[in-house]
C-alpha cells in the first residue's frame, strides 16, 4: 500500500486531479465530460510520440528527430495520395518511411558512437529537409500543405470507437501495447538494463545494439502514426506538422518519470503526464489565459517537475545521511561509557 502511494505515477495522478479541480473552479464549463474527452484530439499526438520516446530514453538514448518524422510521414502519405495510390498502400508507405527514419538514426548512432542527441539533431534537419523537398517536388511549394485526401481518411480524425474519439482510442491501445512490451516481456527488461549500464547488459549477453535499434524504429513508426492522425484531423499534410510536439513530448516523457540518464521510467507515467500537459494547455485557454502565457507555463512546468523530483531525492538522501550520522554518534558515545 505504502509502495503504491509513494509511486511517482500516483503523484502525477494527484497532480492531474488538482489541475482539473483548479480549472473547474475557475471555469465550471471546463469540467464537461464530452469536452474533456473530445478535447484530447488536440494533444493526443504528443502522447503518441511521447510513449515510444520513453522507451528510447529508458534504453539510454534520446530522439529529437521525431518532430520531423511526423511531418515527413504526413508528406509521404500526401505525395502517395497525390499520385492516386490506394489508401492502404499510402498509409503503408508513410509507416515504412517512419520506420526507415528510426533505422537511419539507430544505424548512424551505432556506427559513429556519437551521442544520440547530436545524431538525432542532425537527422531532425535531414528529415525536415527531405519532407520539404518531397512536398516541393509535387509542387506543393515550400511550406504549403497537401490536401484533398479521400473522405474515408479524413473521417478517421472525427470517428468514434467505443464511445471514444478514434485518435484517443488509438493512443490508449498504443499505450497498452507498450505497457505490455516494456513491463511484462523479456525485451522490456533488456531495455531497462541497457539503459542502466550498457556494458553490464552486454556482458549479460543482451544484444544492446539490437534492443536500442528497435526502440528507435518503434519511435519512428509511432511518429508516422502521429503524422497520419494529425493529417486526418486537419485534413492536410504539412512539413511543420510536428514541430510543436518536440518540447511537450520530451516534457511528457521526463515528467512521466523517465530519467534522462537512462534505466528509469514508465509508460503509465508518460501516459498520465500527457494528460497533465494537454489539459494544462486547454485549461489555461478555458480560463482565458493568452496562449503565449500558457506556452511559458508548460515550459515552467517541466522545470518545476524536474526540480521537485531532484529536490525530493536530495532531501531524502540528506535525511538518511543525517540519521546515519546521529546513529553513529549515539553508538560512539554509548560505546565510550
Amino acid at each position: 500500500m505504502k509502495k503504491l502511494i509513494f509511486r511517482w505515477e500516483t503523484a502525477l495522478l494527484a497532480m492531474l486531479v488538482v489541475e482539473l479541480a483548479v480549472f473547474g473552479f475557475i471555469n465550471p464549463r471546463f469540467l464537461n465530460l464530452t469536452n474533456l474527452i473530445y478535447g484530447t484530439s488536440d494533444f493526443v499526438q504528443i502522447g503518441i510520440v511521447a510513449l515510444p520516446l520513453t522507451l528510447v530514453i529508458i534504453s539510454g538514448g534520446i530522439d529529437v528527430s521525431f518532430a520531423s518524422v511526423i511531418g515527413l510521414a504526413a508528406i509521404v502519405f500526401g505525395v502517395a495520395t497525390f499520385y492516386g495510390l490506394p489508401l492502404p498502400l499510402s498509409i503503408a508507405f508513410a509507416l515504412v518511411s517512419g520506420a526507415l527514419c528510426g533505422l537511419v538514426n539507430a544505424t548512424v548512432i551505432h556506427l559513429s558512437k556519437i551521442q544520440p542527441l547530436v545524431v538525432t539533431l542532425g537527422s531532425l534537419y535531414l528529415f525536415k529537409g527531405t519532407a520539404t523537398v518531397a512536398s516541393g517536388l509535387v509542387g506543393a511549394g515550400g511550406y504549403e500543405g497537401i490536401g484533398n485526401f479521400p473522405e474515408s481518411f479524413n473521417a478517421f480524425g472525427y470517428a468514434e470507437f467505443l464511445g471514444l474519439p478514434a485518435p484517443l482510442a488509438l493512443f490508449l491501445v498504443l499505450a497498452l501495447l507498450l505497457i505490455v512490451l516494456l513491463h511484462f516481456t523479456r525485451f522490456g527488461r533488456a531495455v531497462f538494463l541497457s539503459g542502466q549500464s550498457e556494458s553490464a547488459a552486454r556482458f549479460a549477453g543482451i544484444p544492446v545494439g539490437r534492443v536500442q535499434t528497435i526502440t528507435y524504429v518503434v519511435t519512428g513508426v509511432s511518429a508516422a502514426i502521429a503524422g497520419l492522425v494529425m493529417s486526418a484531423y486537419f485534413g492536410s499534410a504539412r512539413v511543420d506538422l510536428g514541430s510543436a510536439t518536440l518540447l511537450p513530448a520530451v516534457t511528457a516523457a521526463v515528467l512521466g518519470g523517465a530519467s534522462i540518464y537512462g534505466g528509469q521510467g514508465s509508460i503509465l507515467g508518460t501516459l498520465i503526464a500527457t494528460f497533465v500537459i494537454g489539459y494544462l494547455q486547454q485549461g489555461l485557454q478555458a480560463a482565458g489565459v493568452p496562449s503565449q502565457v500558457s506556452s511559458a507555463l508548460s515550459g515552467g512546468l517541466l522545470v518545476v517537475a524536474v526540480a521537485l523530483r531532484h529536490g525530493s531525492a536530495m532531501l531524502a538522501d540528506f535525511i538518511a545521511v543525517a540519521r546515519q550520522q546521529k546513529q553513529n554518534r549515539a553508538a560512539v558515545t554509548s560505546g565510550g561509557e
Binding site: 534537419y125 529537409g129 520530451v250 515550459g299
Partner: protein, 343 residues
C-alpha cells in the same frame, strides 16, 4: 594522416572549406568575390555569438538549448525599451542584463540544484519564449530607431561596428580560455568533474559562470539580430540553438566536455554560412537548405565518429604492445613479493 585529421579539426575544416570554395567557384564563377565574403561574414555574426556561448557551456559537459529563446527575449527587451524612449546605450545594457539573468537562472538550476542541463534548458527554452511573447503581447516590434540599425552599417571592407565587436569578443574568449586560470577551469570541469573538484576547482561556480557567459553571448546575438534585420519578429532566434550545437560538433567541440577551441567553432560557423550563401548562388531552391545542412552534418558526424574509433583502437593497440614487450619485470616483482609473503 588519420591522426592528423582527428587531432587538427581546424586544419581539416579549412581544407574542406577551400575544396568547397573551389568546387562552388568552378560551378558559379561569380561566387568567389569580396562581396560574397562580406555577406558571409555579416550573415555569420548571430550564429557565431550563439555558437561561442554554447561552446563554453559544452566545455563544462553541459548543454544549453535555450539560447535561441534568450536571443528573442533580450532582443524584445532591447526593442521595447527603445520604443519606450530609453537611450541606446542604456537599452543595450538592459538587453545584456536580461541575457545574463536568463543565463544565471539556467546556471542556478544546473549547477546548484543538480538538474540535468538538457532538461533544465529545454524547460527554459519554452519559458523564455513565453516571457518574450507576454512582454511583446505577441506583436512584432517594428520602427526600431536609426541609430540601432546604424550599428550594422558598413565601416569599410564590409566590416560593421558589430563585426568588430564580435571579433574582439572572439579574441577575448580565446585568451580567456587559453591564458587564464579560470578559463582552464572550464576544460577541467568538463573533462573530469570529480578530479577537478578534488584539485580545488570551484566546480559549481565554474558551471554557473559558463551559463551566464552563454546568456550574455545570446543577448549580444539578439542585439546583432535586431540591428541587422531592423525589426524583431516573435520567432527571432527560433531553432538557432540546434544549429549552434551542430556547429560546435562540426568544429570539434566534444559534447562529452573538455575539448574544443574558438578557432574550430569559428571555422565551422564560416563553413555553414558559406554553404547557405552558396545555395543561393547556385540557384538551388530554398527548400533544399535543411536537407543539405542535415546531410552534411550527419556525414561529418559519421566520418568523425569512425575516425575517432580508428584512432582510439590504434592508441589501445600501442598500449598493449608496450605491455607485451615488458612482462618480465612485473612477473619478477610479484614472485619476490610472494616469496616474502611466504616467509
Amino acid at each position: 594522416m588519420l591522426d592528423f585529421l582527428a587531432r587538427n579539426r581546424v586544419a581539416t575544416l579549412l581544407v574542406v572549406l577551400v575544396l568547397t570554395y573551389v568546387a562552388i567557384g568552378a560551378a558559379a564563377p561569380g561566387y568567389l568575390s569580396g562581396a560574397t565574403a562580406s555577406v558571409v561574414v555579416s550573415n555569420s555574426l548571430v550564429l557565431m555569438l550563439i555558437s561561442l556561448g554554447t561552446m563554453i557551456v559544452i566545455l563544462t559537459r553541459n548543454i544549453d538549448v535555450s539560447s535561441g529563446s534568450v536571443l528573442g527575449l533580450s532582443a524584445a527587451v532591447l526593442g521595447l525599451s527603445l520604443d519606450a524612449g530609453v537611450s541606446l546605450p542604456l537599452a543595450i545594457a538592459f538587453c545584456l542584463l536580461t541575457g545574463a539573468a536568463a543565463g544565471a537562472f539556467n546556471g542556478l538550476m544546473v549547477a546548484y540544484l543538480g538538474i540535468p542541463s538538457i532538461v533544465a534548458t529545454l524547460g527554459t527554452l519554452g519559458l523564455y519564449r513565453g516571457i518574450m511573447l507576454v512582454l511583446t503581447g505577441g506583436r512584432w516590434i517594428e520602427d526600431l530607431p536609426q541609430n540601432l540599425k546604424a550599428l550594422a552599417g558598413n565601416l569599410g571592407f564590409g566590416f560593421s561596428a558589430l563585426t568588430v565587436v564580435v571579433l574582439v569578443l572572439m579574441v577575448l574568449v580565446w585568451l580567456g580560455l587559453r591564458k587564464t586560470h579560470f578559463g582552464r577551469y572550464f576544460y577541467a570541469v568538463g573533462d573530469n568533474r570529480e578530479a577537478a573538484h578534488h584539485l580545488g576547482v570551484p566546480v559549481k561556480r565554474v558551471q554557473f559562470t559558463a551559463f551566464i557567459v552563454t546568456g550574455i553571448c545570446a543577448a549580444l546575438a539578439g542585439l546583432v539580430f535586431a540591428a541587422q534585420i531592423g525589426f524583431i519578429p516573435n520567432q527571432a532566434g527560433n531553432g538557432i540553438e540546434l544549429k549552434a550545437i551542430a556547429v560546435n560538433v562540426l568544429g570539434g567541440v566534444s559534447l562529452l566536455g573538455g575539448t574544443g577551441s574558438v578557432a574550430g567553432v569559428a571555422a565551422a560557423v564560416i563553413f555553414i554560412t558559406s554553404i547557405d550563401s552558396a545555395l543561393v548562388f547556385l540557384k538551388i531552391p530554398a527548400y533544399w537548405n535543411d536537407f543539405i545542412a542535415g546531410a552534411i552534418l550527419l556525414s561529418v558526424l559519421l566520418l568523425d565518429g569512425r575516425i575517432r574509433q580508428i584512432v582510439d583502437r590504434r592508441i589501445r593497440a600501442r598500449r598493449y604492445a608496450v605491455h607485451e614487450r615488458s612482462p618480465a619485470p612485473s612477473a619478477e616483482t610479484t614472485k619476490t613479493q610472494a616469496v616474502e609473503a611466504g616467509r
